[in-house]
């Protein structure tokens, strides 16, 4: 097995066994429903739910992604720095294994493990919706939305969650990340400068708009493109399928850059 494979396998195994990886998203969902998370309820109400299964499961993807990515980022914040904290780093660094391959394995393994409860929740709700509405095609849309909307966003969050605690304490990163997530995704671009609705939007505004034709549950919202009077409109061209794929590529590129930064910082500390 390669260094990458070994690191991926064991990082996945260690992370998926952590109780908090399961408890945090479960509690978030329970709280969300308790405070009136409408779509999770409405999906199973024949009078309220969208008639189109695509709109239903893509809307579900947006809500769960926006909500559960917060805990996802916080749970990953100690993954890279903990090797030093635990004192395992010298053993791993003294092996002939490539540090870059180890980091990539750690990144994907830990991120995949932390995403398992999100996938379970999302596909669980989607499957229940498909059964309730007798529309199995909803599952195909769910798979597509998970792949092109949720996964790129989570990969971006994971890269920063691993890399940024190299330059600041993990608890501080968690506070700043929650702040960023709310600012970047909830605050309207007209109110203050944000990355919402840009090509760099981790909630996937361009794929939602151009690949899924999603404009909110009621069909009245827009998720990408220029906003009158907002800053950063240069990053908000009119959505097209090409730009949707470009947006996904940009998210992956920024993730790679963040990881490379973390890798470089760690290597410099050894000099």
């Amino acid at each position: 097995m390669t260094t990458f494979g070994a690191s991926l396998r064991y990082e996945f195994r260690m992370q998926v066994r952590k109780r908090s990886v399961w408890i945090v998203p479960a509690l978030t969902l329970v709280l969300f429903v308790l405070i009136g998370g409408s779509l999770l309820r409405d999906l199973f109400d024949p009078g309220e739910r969208p008639l189109d299964p695509r709109t239903g499961v893509v809307g579900l993807a947006v809500q769960l992604h926006a909500l559960l990515a917060i805990g996802f980022g916080c749970l990953l914040a100690d993954r890279l720095v903990r090797d030093d904290r635990l004192g395992v780093a010298p053993i791993l660094d003294a092996t002939p294994a490539s540090p870059a391959a180890r980091l990539l394995g750690k990144y994907l393994g830990a991120a995949a493990a932390t995403a398992v409860p999100i996938a379970v929740a999302y596909f669980g709700f989607a499957a229940a919706y498909a059964i309730d509405t007798r529309q199995p095609v909803a599952l195909a849309w769910a798979l597509a939305a998970f792949t092109v909307v949720i996964v790129p966003g989570l990969l971006l969050v994971a890269a920063f969650a691993l890399a940024v605690p190299m330059i600041m304490p993990a608890p501080l990163f968690r506070v700043l990340f929650v702040g960023y997530w709310l600012w970047g995704n909830i605050v309207s671009p007209e109110m203050m400068p944000t990355l919402a609705r840009t090509l760099f939007h981790p909630l996937g505004g361009y794929p939602l708009d151009a690949l899924f034709g999603f404009h909110g549950i009621d069909g009245e919202d827009t998720w990408a493109g220029p906003v009158t009077g907002a800053t950063f409109n240069v990053l908000r061209p009119e959505p097209t399928p090409v730009l949707a794929w470009l947006s996904i590529a940009l998210l992956l590129l920024v993730s790679a850059a963040a990881l490379a930064g973390g890798h470089t910082l760690r290597a410099r500390r050894l000099r």
């Binding site: 004192g87 791993l92 092996t95 002939p96």
Partner: protein, 288 residues
């Protein structure tokens, strides 16, 4: 694997000089490294393990120049390393942790790897606990896991930093014997504060102080450096102020002190035969 070190300097950020132009040759076999805290032993070992880069100087291990990435990787393929302040992943079992490290060491063949992990768990007497999570292991048990991981790939160079810290006396003796048996035609670099461990395992040793070499020779030569400088003093008064007090043993008529000093600390002082520890203290005292 012969280790040749010349002009080795390591200065950390903030201007702390851990190593200061160190020259040292380490032959095949067991080799001891002694020195006070901050002498530079751990930095030297970390450089030899390829996890810290020197500020200046040259290190060649088994013909591989550690200045190049290829050289470091070649050495790491032959290396077993047990760091000071060893850490483990608390979420993994002992077997899983060893399997993970073995994979990173390039032991790709699964049956071979599993057999080797099993053998080493037996060697460090952890077979019974192999499938328990490391979270519940005592310090001594974790240290034994550390010893096992260092031996995984049958290394030609074994670097062990304070390996017997946290082990009980029986475990310590067992590990010392294991190291001696393991050495054979390999190179084992043993750094410790427990001088006795060096005396029982190494033919040659070096002493570092403030990042410099202050002694390099056989263990017997190190012992002889205290000849004529070890004294027994029995007194019911204060401890001798001259020299270094090695031990203090309560007696009926006062306290019996063992002292390393150039001259007799008192008129009643009796000369004693030196031990290795006395030799180390004599060398250290000459530098201070």
């Amino acid at each position: 694997m012969r280790i040749e070190i010349s002009g080795l300097t390591k200065t950390y950020r903030g201007g702390v000089h851990a190593l200061d132009g160190l020259d040292l040759d380490i032959p095949t076999g067991m080799f001891g490294l002694l020195g006070a805290n901050g002498a530079g032993k751990t930095t030297l070992m970390r450089i030899l393990a390829g996890i810290v880069r020197p500020s200046a100087g040259r290190v060649v291990v088994g013909g591989h120049d550690m200045a190049s990435s290829a050289g470091r990787t070649a050495v790491q393929r032959e290396l077993g390393y047990l760091p000071q302040d060893l850490g483990v992943y608390p979420d993994l079992t002992a077997r899983q942790f060893l399997d993970y490290v073995a994979l990173l060491k390039g032991m790709d063949d699964r049956p071979v790897r599993r057999r080797r992990v099993g053998e080493l768990l037996e060697v460090v007497a952890l077979t019974e606990y192999a499938d328990r999570r490391l979270r519940g292991f005592s310090g001594g048990m974790r240290q034994r896991v550390g010893i096992a991981q260092a031996l995984l790939a049958d290394p030609r160079l074994l670097i062990v930093d304070e390996p017997t810290a946290g082990l009980d006396p029986e475990e310590r003796i067992r590990f010392r014997t294991l190291l001696s048996q393991f050495a054979g035609r390999r190179t084992v670099l043993l750094s410790t504060h427990i001088v006795d461990d060096i005396g029982h395992t190494c033919r040659e040793a070096a002493v570092l102080a403030r990042g410099r070499l202050i002694f390099r020779g056989t263990v017997e030569e190190l012992t002889r450096r205290a000849e004529g400088r070890v004294w027994s003093v029995v007194t019911d008064g204060p401890a001798p102020s001259e020299g270094t007090v090695v031990s203090a043993l309560p007696q009926d008529d006062g306290m019996r002190y063992r002292v390393v000093a150039r001259d007799a600390p008192s008129a009643q002082a009796r000369p004693l035969d030196p031990s290795l520890e006395d030799g180390y203290l004599a060398v250290a005292a000459d530098q201070s």
